[in-house]
Point group: C2
Chain length 361, copies 2
């Protein structure tokens, strides 16, 4: 009886191996990967993307790929994700590329750029243009791979205590605005600063700062800024903020082909899914805001101010291009791609939105 | 010697099974699935989506999921995909939901609607709103599952021999325009018709028809319409055309959980990927068209004409709602979702595009 069982089992196992040409028993290994995210525990939307990714990877691999996620509460280094994944302390990271510009200046360009591409244009650049290739060029020397990690959609220009009517109103303005956009505003006489999210409300309430940008209605509403700053400006500085999955190259290389593809696909889909989720949450939260806080005044910066911001932005890009050939290559690639894609954006969705909006209900 | 080998193999197989809790030998089966697509062989973009899907599914499953695709050249029934997947002749299909409105009227609503949602809004409705649930309600009685299968982006309003200056110009206008949009134009006195793609050029050239809509620059350019019709109108009738994956429910049920998730994820990612590809190709082909055929006149329908189209559209929707409670449920769900999402679209991407466009280069 016992020998009969063994025979049956062996026969079945033999069929398995020959039928699907697996490397012998590759399926028996469980790969346990550790991921560090920049976000704190239970951070909505941003934190949902890596969990969506990990769940898909585990289910598709039938448990052979198990990814555990540590939030910043645990690893205590929200802006140490690059280093921790580089060293191999973590296999994976979820963060945003522009946080690393102090370490590796050319990482700046793979999140979003002031006056740059909107989300579907930027996905075109990443996947159908040169975006992925250029990102690999920047990250490869550090033993890292970087992939799009979820898009917030177009971000709002921020909450202001006072209306911005002219360039003079920017002079001396203390504003929480990180990254390249902060450099742009500094050129125009503002005082950009970065403040951790937990301290933002108090800083604005006590007038330590006069203004701040955070994300948009999907995440701003729960922060309560509308209670202490009446003006909410439309965006210019982050038209397509894309988060990032980081992967240690040694981890990537040791995965078998099927699990590598499962990881790649899970990351890519989780990124698109976050864009859809952000779009949805933005609409829902905007409606809540409009009905519960009808006094919020939505504004667009005056043309004079936007024109000066754009000029300062172009000057900064020219400086970066002159200083570094890889920066030049990326900046030129993005500008050329946007020029072609924007014509289509304007003739398709924008023309459509203007057409239908001009009609009575 | 022989018995030793057997012992080793059995031990290894046992480890495999216990370590990953597989149902015994689930991994040994190769599932060979057959898919029928509506498109002819080598049809660009539309045909790339199911091939992208099949490749991901095969690689992620390490060959356990093999999907072969028959084009319409082979199965000879481009509009028979619904029936062939329903009967089990094919496991899967790639087509468009609104092609089945003659068989099952409520399939109409899951592709795109005149004056309806743009692509990111519609993905929000599918995945974060009630879209998927309602689509299941419509397809479930036929033993079918339907999933988004790739978005073309906003389609152009079509190629016209004569300029449309007033409602009078629509009277008697013979136009190839299928689906709900054709019904809308018929209400305004036009003569909508459907003509297979291979005969479109000749029909327009010989004035059998006065106008036609096809897709947009991503696919129109290779059709040559710009050579025989000078006016190219912006869109109103298909703002977010979503193709469709159909799955026979019996096939779905017999797949193990991991392969079912692999199939679901591959379809969902292939759909998003096609949107990015369409966006890219639209931009690139628009640029080619503008440089090689500068005489094409891009027009938007006059407000009077658009207003009448919208009114006719609303009347038709009211008729469908009155006639069928499920149609009513879908139409109301879409209208409510669009209302919330459109406010966000206008304050984010649209406000941004208008801001930056108002500035000098």
């Amino acid at each position: 009886m016992k020998s009969l069982k063994i025979t049956t089992l062996v026969a079945a196992a033999a069929v398995t191996i020959s039928a699907i040409s697996l490397p012998a028993f590759a399926a028996d290994r469980v790969y346990k990967l550790k991921m560090a995210e920049t976000w704190s525990a239970n951070f909505p939307i941003f934190g949902d993307a890596p969990r969506n990714m990990a769940r898909m990877a585990e289910e598709m691999s039938n448990g052979r790929l198990k990814i555990t996620i540590d939030s910043s509460n645990k690893h205590k280094a929200p802006f140490g994700v690059f280093d921790m994944v580089r060293s191999g302390q973590y296999d994976l990271g979820h963060s945003a590329s522009y946080y690393w510009k102090g370490k590796v200046p050319n990482t700046l360009y793979f999140t979003t750029m002031p006056f740059g591409m909107i989300t579907p244009e930027q996905y075109g650049w990443f996947y159908e243009g040169d975006g992925m290739k250029l990102m690999e060029k920047v990250y490869q020397p550090f033993g890292l791979l970087s992939f799009p990690g979820g898009n917030t959609g177009n971000q709002m220009g921020g909450w202001f205590q006072k209306e911005i009517n002219s360039l003079d109103d920017l002079k001396g303005l203390k504003m929480r605005i990180p990254g390249f956009a902060g450099e742009v505003l500094a050129k125009l006489g503002a005082k950009p600063t970065n403040i951790a999210s937990g301290e933002l409300y108090t800083a604005l309430e006590r007038r330590t700062i006069d203004a701040l940008e955070w994300v948009g209605p999907s995440l701003d509403l729960r922060m309560g800024f509308h209670k202490i700053a009446p003006y909410y400006y439309t965006g210019w500085h982050e038209p397509a903020t894309e988060l990032q999955f980081l992967v240690n190259q040694r981890t990537w290389k040791k995965l078998p082909d099927d699990l590598r593809e499962i990881l790649r696909v899970s990351m890519k889909l989780a990124a698109y899914d976050m864009y859809t989720q952000s779009y949805h949450e933005s609409g829902v939260n905007w409606a809540t805001m409009a009905s519960e806080y009808p006094n919020i005044q939505v504004k667009t910066f005056p043309k004079e101010v936007l024109a000066a911001m754009k000029k300062a932005n172009q000057e900064l890009l020219a400086e970066k291009s002159a200083a570094d050939p890889v920066a030049k290559e990326i900046i030129e690639s993005q500008a050329a791609y946007m020029k072609t894609a924007r014509v289509w954006t304007n003739i398709s969705d924008r023309a459509y939105l203007e057409s239908v909006d001009s009609l009575a209900e």
